[in-house]
């Protein structure tokens, strides 16, 4: 299989404009003849569904939640980047492009990233017009703050609830179209499979989570905007329902999975407090604007933080990376935290934590200012830990947060399966091996509002869309397979719950394919995962039936896919004999412990093709060429 990214010719600054000009259009009267299924109603899905409906397409949107507004984009706290240069501090489309490629450790596709930076400014305009209440200065103009991996202030925000406000904006745009009858919204419907007819994606199979009904829905194109797979680790900052099923099912139907080993470990999360822990909570990166990260200089220092004088503290990020300091990128800050904890200098129960201290900022700015900036985050911290962060430093530790990998897509955001488009976190395209803070919201909305509306038209204009119905052999077979799978999960009647399997799988992944990976560890994971999967299908216990609301069954169905997907992720991590961004292989590091890339051999996207459960997948490579950015060792010193 030859991977063609379909990148337009010409200078990078003109590629997108040229592509728009060259794309064929669909006549307005013909648009309503095309049906598009959008799976997922987060930032990418809701914005795509609303915008495509505005253009006149016949849109169906699907979510497993009870409302489109519940998607996990809502939990993003800190902000959204855009190259507006309102601060007059030297920002530009070029600088945002450069920062993003560098931040991704030179493993992203240049053309996609440049387009992302270009459309970033339109996103802010669109969201303001929708009534998103971004933070403003007293003069009435939009306010900005800084985020990791950048030396300009380009992050727009709405208190600590930026994701919520942007998602509500997209949800409202979607709701408007639902009210107008141009979008049919299907809530409590979970995608179980993709229907491929004559090599093209033509439909999906869903299960109604209330009635258990399994049915197919046919269309001319399918858009997956189903988020990331961080919950393969069980403990992550993802919402409980986030899963890999939609993208993994598409992978099993022939779509290639790109860079599955690229996962982001976020440096500032609340540490684990016990075995019952169900998820981890992020403390926004924006806190690093004013908080200072430190640990004691000596290991085994058990004094309370207020008893440790300045001379006995190690502000290790400021020491190691003086020019970026506490705003070093996420992968670097996370590894640095792991290093000091591995040295025995971690704080709190179990020694898995570092301090994030606001004492200096409170002294400098006053408590009122800190409260205005981060009040809701401080309250959340206190609710969870029972400690008041205005008085004692927060304790934080890295946790799984985001997955840069995802289904492989070309410049049009279409996978190798014609008619299957993939947006937002679900695709692999823009963040390389590490995502910068405040760039996920930017990418989700860029894909949905400003990329897919243009590129999907070019696909439809090619023609050749015979009518397919739910009576087709392919649709019937996909429904039958999904039904059989549900029955199988229910019929095992073993002894272990889906949650217990999920926890065990997550522990394997965190220990062996987490923040630091080794060849031996990854090989061990490749032995343990299939064993656990075999036990899962032998000893699973799911009570109840498939014809009712059955949350245990929903969980079991998602864990079943994680059991297979985990192996793909480890395979990718094992094959990539280099360290880059969030993928850190202990064998490949510089003398001072930084990631050591191997551009000669690994400057490519690893796109994996499914060959069967437990069978090694086939690797396809998309070579990455860097014509505009000089490949350099990433330095934030």
């Amino acid at each position: 299989m030859k991977l063609n990214a379909n990148i337009p010719d010409g200078p990078i600054q003109q590629k997108w404009d040229k592509h728009i000009a060259d794309s064929k259009l669909v006549n307005p009267a013909n648009k309503r003849k095309f049906t598009v299924l959008v799976v997922g109603t987060g930032l990418a899905g809701a914005s795509a569904a609303a915008t495509l409906a505005e253009l006149g397409y016949n849109v169906h949107a699907y979510t497993y939640h009870d409302s489109a507004r519940r998607a996990h984009s809502i939990a993003a706290q800190g902000g959204i980047n855009a190259a507006k240069n309102y601060q007059n501090d030297g920002d530009s489309v070029w600088r945002l492009f450069y920062d993003t490629v560098k931040g991704g450790d030179f493993r992203a596709r240049e053309a996609n990233v440049y387009r992302l930076a270009q459309v970033s400014t339109s996103i802010i305009d669109q969201c303001v017009a929708q009534g998103v209440p971004f933070a403003r200065e007293y003069g009435g103009y939009l306010s900005n703050r800084s985020f990791g991996g950048a030396q300009v202030s380009r992050t727009f925000y709405a208190r600590g609830q930026t994701g919520q406000q942007l998602l509500i904006g997209a949800y409202q745009a979607l709701s408007r179209q639902v009210g107008l009858g141009t979008v049919t919204l299907h809530t409590k419907k979970e995608m179980m499979d993709l229907v491929v007819v004559n090599g093209k994606a033509r439909g999906i199979v869903t299960r109604d989570l209330k009635s258990g009904e399994i049915e197919s829905h046919m269309a001319d194109a399918v858009i997956l905007a189903t988020g990331g797979y961080g919950n393969v680790f069980y403990l992550s900052t993802n919402a409980k329902a986030c899963n890999v099923t939609a993208t993994y099912r598409a992978y099993k139907k022939g779509a290639l999975f790109g860079n599955p080993c690229y996962t982001q470990i976020h440096p500032t999360c609340i540490p684990v407090s016990g075995d019952y822990q169900s998820k981890l909570t992020l403390m926004s990166e924006s806190l690093r604007n004013d908080g200072r990260i430190w640990v004691p200089k000596q290991k085994g220092d058990t004094r309370t933080p207020d008893q440790i004088p300045e001379s006995d503290r190690d502000y290790y990020l400021e020491r190691k990376y003086p020019s970026y300091g506490n705003l070093s990128p996420r992968d670097i800050a996370s590894r640095a935290a792991k290093q000091v904890c591995d040295e025995g200098r971690g704080v709190g129960p179990g020694g898995l934590g570092v301090y994030l201290d606001f004492a200096d900022a409170i002294k400098r700015l006053g408590q009122a200012k800190i409260e205005e900036r981060y009040g809701n985050l401080f309250e959340m911290y206190e609710r969870i830990t029972g400690e008041n962060p205005y008085e004692v430093p927060m304790r934080i530790y890295p946790a799984v947060h985001y997955t840069m990998g995802g289904l492989w897509v070309d410049y049009n955001l279409m996978s190798n399966l014609p008619g299957l488009f993939v947006l937002g976190e679900a695709n692999f395209s823009d963040h390389g091996a590490n995502r910068l803070g405040a760039s996920a919201l930017m990418q989700g909305l860029a894909d949905g509002y400003f990329v897919i509306p243009y590129t999907i038209g070019g696909y439809f204009a090619q023609g050749g869309f015979d009518k397919v119905s739910s009576d087709s052999a392919e649709a019937k077979q996909a429904v039958a397979e999904a039904t059989e799978r549900v029955n199988k999960l229910l019929s095992i009647k073993g002894k272990r719950t889906p949650a217990s399997f999920h926890r065990e799988l997550g522990k394997i992944m965190w220990d062996l394919c987490g923040m630091a990976r080794t060849e031996a560890g990854l090989k061990e994971a490749l032995v343990r995962i299939p064993k656990l999967r075999e036990e899962f299908w032998r000893d699973l216990l799911v009570p109840g039936s498939g014809e009712e609301l059955n949350q245990t069954l929903e969980h079991a169905n998602r864990v079943a896919d994680f059991m297979e997907f985990a192996e793909l992720m480890v395979t990718d991590a094992l094959h990539r004999n280099e360290s880059c961004g969030g993928h850190f292989r202990e064998e490949y590091q510089t003398e001072d412990g930084e990631a050591l890339r191997n551009d000669e051999e690994f400057a490519y996207v690893a796109a994996w093709e499914y060959n069967g459960v437990g069978v090694a997948p086939t690797l396809h490579k998309e070579e990455l060429t860097f014509d505009n950015v000089h490949l350099a060792t990433r330095s934030y010193k």
């Binding site: 609303a50 409302s67 019952y276």
Partner: protein, 247 residues
């Protein structure tokens, strides 16, 4: 700590429900309330019994999925806190805890503690938006917005759509939810063009869904996990009257 829970069990929308008692032992004070229910459910599944169904997702207090009445109070005893962020350190050994679903005819019970809140979506679909197609927008800084207005819009927009306001109200009124959306958009210049029709259409839909009206108990504000002020209800009433007089 050891606890005795009394939980509303109801197999389906038309089934009859009742409170059932469960003992949960060795609960850590660092657990969240939902983690305590997770422990109970793992135990129930292991015994081959049906686990307690409840909605939840982000467990960070922002998605609005979770919601249950704990000892008579929506989201439980801690102010401005969703039940997923409520931690067991707020309880003590030997406590008896009563757990029930939101109760309102416009929120029918799906199962156990899960209710159907689709009525909220249908209200938003009637006008809870600014009609601006993608691509229409001018520069984001073209219209300066006074910080006080932007802040007020944000205060209202913080609503997570959980439905606690309805559950707390003796009339099962949704006025705080509806007023929050109307108040968010009415505070901004972008929301002015449709201000009248929005207020009228959303309020009419609210009535059609079977929610009650406000009689100034203010239980909604007390129960709201985001602390949204009843002041927005007064603003909504004014907008609704204005719109009605204009016809």
């Amino acid at each position: 700590m050891n606890l005795r829970l009394h939980i509303w069990r109801q197999a389906g929308p038309s089934a009859e429900g009742s409170l059932k008692a469960y003992d949960v032992n060795n609960v850590s004070e660092h657990m969240s309330f939902l983690e305590m229910l997770d422990v109970l459910n793992e135990d129930l599944i292991g015994k081959g019994e049906s686990p307690v169904a409840f909605d939840h997702d982000c467990r960070e207090g922002i998605c609005g999925s979770c919601g249950m009445v704990v000892n008579g109070v929506p989201h439980g005893p801690e102010r401005k806190t969703t039940v997923c962020q409520l931690h067991m350190r707020k309880f003590k050994d030997g406590d008896e805890i009563y757990i029930e679903p939101w109760r309102a005819s416009a929120f029918p019970v799906t199962r156990d503690l899960v209710v159907d809140r689709a009525a909220f979506d249908r209200i938003i679909q009637k006008g809870g938006f600014v009609s601006v197609n993608t691509g229409n927008a001018q520069d984001g800084n073209a219209i300066p917005i006074a910080k006080t207005d932007a802040d007020r819009a944000m205060d209202a927009a913080a609503c997570i759509g959980c439905g606690a306001c309805v559950a707390a109200c003796p009339n099962a009124s949704a006025m705080l939810f509806v007023a929050a959306k109307i108040g968010h958009l009415a505070a901004l210049p972008q929301g002015q063009a449709e201000r009248d029709s929005r207020a009228r259409d959303m309020v009419l839909q609210m009535d059609a869904e079977g929610f009650g009206s406000c009689t100034n108990h203010y239980e909604c504000e007390a129960a709201c996990p985001k602390g949204i002020s009843v002041e927005f209800i007064a603003r909504m009433n004014r907008d609704f009257v204005n719109a009605s007089l204009k016809g």
